[in-house]
Amino acid sequence: MDIVVCLKQTFDTEAKIVLDSSGKIDSTGVNLVMNPYDEFAVEEALKLREKFGGQVTLVSMGGERVTESLRTALAMGCDEAILIQDPALESPDEWVTAEVLAKAVSQIPYDIILAGRIAVDDGSGQVAIRLADALKIPSVNCILKLETADGKAEVTREIDGGTELIEVSLPAVLTTQKGLNIPRYPSMMGIMKAKKKEIKRLTLADLGMSAADLPRKMSIMKFNLPSPRKGGMKISGEAADAAKELARILREEAKVI
């Protein structure tokens, strides 16, 4: 079974977000990690390969630092990686990303395409679903369990207040949710082996595409940081009076009781 994992590198979830002078998110000095939801995709791909054999190929788009996350996934056991890099892909929208990924993925064999259900940075959750659309294959998002047999997959997906069991024909795009598995640590041997595995770099030209084919449909106009939290309030005075005052504030101002 050949599996493709779409991987995105994101800010460390503990990173402090600041805007630069032009109002864009400043990534200098920020620790970058593999999108945590993509780790579930990598783990699931490796489990499928252990069961059925085949290849696990990583596909990613982005700058040079993405190789750090690709190497980590290779160290976990993935077989090879494709990194699409092109100056024209500086700030793509989800449609552009999906079109480019679809082109790259269509050139390699696949039975299942896995991706995290959402990237923890922009959180749009669109790319994997758009990718399925571009490839004209079905997609199921938010999966918690996966069983495959006879060219089909039985997947349990999370829905509001419960779960849903779906049968889907393969190939398909499946997006992974927390709870699907526990991602493994890359082993020392895996880290040493990852060096010898290939990260194939492709440009738009290599994919037979050009910037003219990819007019962005969406542009980000402005980023706003959340407004800073207001300081707390201290109620002074005798305990009995303070309690009365607190009750009044909770009822009349905060309106919570």
Partner: protein
């Protein structure tokens, strides 16, 4: 000269740190309290390749350098020094002498299962009358046909009882002193090989420290490690490399205690300021950070010498003495910064201060390290 870690080392540090923080840190306090050996974690260490980092792939090792090993022991010890020394004693003191001095048959039989983590290793040199001075070795080995017969005992043996494979030293000809000593490979369960007292220790309490007892233990001649009379040299070379492991353990303890103190100093308010805003605390933190960086550079330099197969003795001794003294200074100051809380078992610095002390004692006391350094600089 490049002070940056390469991509592999960065990835290894992240992997071991994730493993240490997620799997090892949560139970460290309880294991210390109950003196409980970290057997489950040891098995996981084996699966992650942490049991055979510096050994070549032909013996199923990772084939990585000493820096990878140091980073591993440092990161484990940053949260649990007992686990750090379990890995260090196994690799440095048991697998390494078999790798350096063993025959091909010994490597196939004993090194491979050690390196994969299937078996655990220990090393027996110290005796009641032979500590820093190995010439006091009373354990004897006598050749008898195709066997050797071992009698005597060893004390303070890290990984004792839990380990499967033991490299031990025994005296074959007392008149020759150190040159009469030989090293042997023993297996747990050999008739006559038993375990005596389990030590109750001040620190590294979840690491196992046992007495080994040999009563007419008959071992085949092929379990002689190196040659007869080579045992003292084997022990000294083993300890030279072993000190890199203990230096890394001490560095990890120091780093762990420092981070606890730094975090607390930023949060705790006294006199209307956080502790970190008080100059008296700032100076403590600065000294801690300074000594840790110096220790780290010494440890990583010793790793470089070991990886390059250059004389490691002086550098490993320097790294060990400085890192262990740093661990003690930093852990003591961390307790001081945390004050009354630091003295309780509610915060890990109390354990770290107890764990730090042994690093100035085992695998050569700080006094012995200074003798090793002096011998090296005076001979040049």
């Amino acid at each position: 000269m490049n002070f940056d870690l390469n991509e592999d080392h960065i990835m290894m540090r992240k992997m071991v740190r994730d493993f240490a923080e997620q799997e090892c840190a949560p139970g460290a306090e309880e294991r210390d309290e109950k003196e409980e050996f970290p057997m489950e974690l040891w098995k996981k260490c084996g699966e992650l390749g942490l049991a055979g980092i510096t050994f070549p792939e032909e013996y199923c090792g990772v084939g990585a350098d000493y820096l990878s090993y140091a980073i591993t022991v440092e990161e484990l010890s940053r949260v649990d020094a007992s686990l750090g020394v379990t890995v260090s004693a196994h690799s440095s003191l048991c697998a390494n002498p078999i790798y350096l001095f063993g025959t091909e048959e010994q490597k196939q039989k004993y090194l491979i299962p050690l390196v994969t983590g299937e078996k655990m290793g220990a090393f027996g040199l110290t005796e009641a009358m032979a500590g820093s001075d190995a010439s006091g070795t009373r354990t004897t080995a006598v050749r008898d046909g195709n066997d050797y017969i071992i009698n005597g005992s060893k004390i303070f043996i890290t990984n004792g009882y839990y380990a499967d494979t033991y490299v031990i030293t025994a005296q074959m000809d007392k008149s020759k002193g150190n040159r009469g000593i030989a090293a042997f490979i023993l297996e747990k369960g050999m008739p006559g090989f038993t375990f005596g007292k389990k030590e109750k220790k001040m620190g590294i309490r979840s690491s196992a420290t046992y007495e080994l007892v040999f009563e007419n233990v008959r071992i085949p001649a092929e379990n002689l490690l190196g040659e007869e009379g080579q045992g003292f040299k084997i022990a000294m070379v083993t300890l030279d490399y072993g000190r890199i492991g203990i230096a890394s353990q001490a560095l990890g303890i120091a780093q762990g205690a420092y981070e606890q103190a730094l975090k607390y100093a930023k949060e705790r308010s006294q006199f209307g300021k956080t502790l970190s805003e008080l100059e008296v605390i700032q100076f403590k933190l600065a000294d801690m950070a300074l000594q840790i960086e110096a220790a780290r550079l010494l440890v990583y330099q010793a790793c470089h010498m070991a990886t390059e197969h250059r004389p490691v003795s002086k550098y490993a001794a320097m790294a060990k003495v400085h890192a262990s003294e740093t661990a003690n200074m930093v852990a003591t100051q961390a307790v001081q910064i945390l004050g009354g809380y630091g003295y309780t078992r509610d915060y890990p610095v109390e354990r770290m201060m107890r764990d730090a002390k042994i690093t100035e004692i085992y695998e050569g006391t700080s006094e012995i390290q200074r003798l090793v350094i002096a011998a090296n600089i005076l001979k040049d």
